[in-house]
Subunit: 218 residues, 2 copies
């Protein structure tokens, strides 16, 4: 059964968080790969921990705090301008290579984004990548002041699109987001780019976003 | 000002989760160290994610699911008996070398444990380590059906000991637990065994539990 709309996660699903940062700002070396991994991990951990503590700080602040503590942890000293350059990379992230053609092949569906990103971060990244012509709704968890996988975050997609969760397809590359969206009630496609394992079974799994259109018509 | 009671985290603070598993069950090799790290990370992630999704599974089930998905992720095949042996290690974990003398030096205070562990896991580990003669209250988050750092989990210490959070000292080696306890309102000591970095400032920091008594009298 075809969904009535498709809702995408942003970071790691449409936008390649790891590629951009390595290009241009830092030369590629093992330290910086370690930094990128720890930064992303802390960023996610901070969203979960803050939400569990009933606290909220927007994703820009979380991303900045995570970068700072990762640098301290790894004894990497960055100047204020290097820190700012890394943070600002979130405003113009590259999309994965197949994203434009994948969205073209899905243009019969209303396409939305539901992301942890703050409204400012999302509007900058969506605009700079040219996705604004394809995406009809950009939904930030900032409205609910709680991060995924809280049901209050996923409920924003239902409210914004006016559709039941089970009538929409939620697409994410993040295993924990797939688990959360499935638990909430969406139909879920896991774009499992790196062959990860997890507990929850999505409705279907792809390795690249351009496989979705065929799965929906097949 | 001296606290009226001291509340300890269990895993990673009193009990050495990583030492036991490497001894006896597996020979030490890089794969198994990677497995231990991923297992612990997934175990924590599952507690946070389940809590955020308003779901609860007890810590035994979480620990088992985390082990299984970590093995799948790393393409490590364990027999059912090897899996069971790893899980059962949680029932008789070794304590860190300084724990017995540290608790002896703190015996003037009521000493409690507040842990994510299920009641069965905690009573087995506390009994097998001989800590039951020192610890007057063993509190499991299982009563609240939500994991740390939810305030509902930390509130169990207040209820069990009948003291205000700010009149107690909460001791943990886990940075996210230090952050959660401090946010809840406890006075907090971070036993930072491995020189980690984080955002939140504890009331004081030690590198080993036997430094606490002196800090309280000094």
């Amino acid at each position: 059964m075809r969904p009535r709309a498709i809702v995408f996660d942003a970071y790691g699903t449409l936008f390649d968080v790891r590629a951009v940062v390595l290009e241009g700002i830092f030369p590629i070396d093992p330290d910086h790969d370690t930094l990128l991994q720890l930064w992303r991990q802390r960023q996610l951990e901070y969203t979960w921990l803050l939400s569990l503590m009933d606290r909220y700080e927007d994703f820009w602040n979380v991303t900045q705090s995570a970068l700072q503590s990762s640098c301290r942890q790894l004894h990497i000293e960055l100047s204020a301008s290097q820190c700012n350059a890394l943070l600002r990379a979130y405003l113009s992230l590259p999309i994965f290579p197949e994203v434009a053609s994948a969205l073209e092949s899905l243009k019969r569906y209303p396409l939305a984004i539901l992301s942890n990103g703050s409204p400012h971060m999302l509007s900058a990244a969506v605009g700079s990548s040219g996705l604004d012509s394809r995406i009809t709704e950009v939904i930030s968890v900032d409205t609910a002041k709680v991060y995924k996988p809280s049901p209050r975050a996923y409920a924003l997609g239902v409210a914004a699109l006016g559709l039941a969760a089970e009538d929409m397809l939620f697409v994410s590359s993040n295993w924990w987001d797939v688990w959360g969206a499935k638990t909430f009630g969406y139909r879920v496609c896991w774009c499992n780019r790196s062959g990860e394992a997890m507990e929850c079974a999505p409705d279907f799994e792809v390795t690249s976003l351009d496989q979705i259109a065929r799965r929906l018509t097949g």
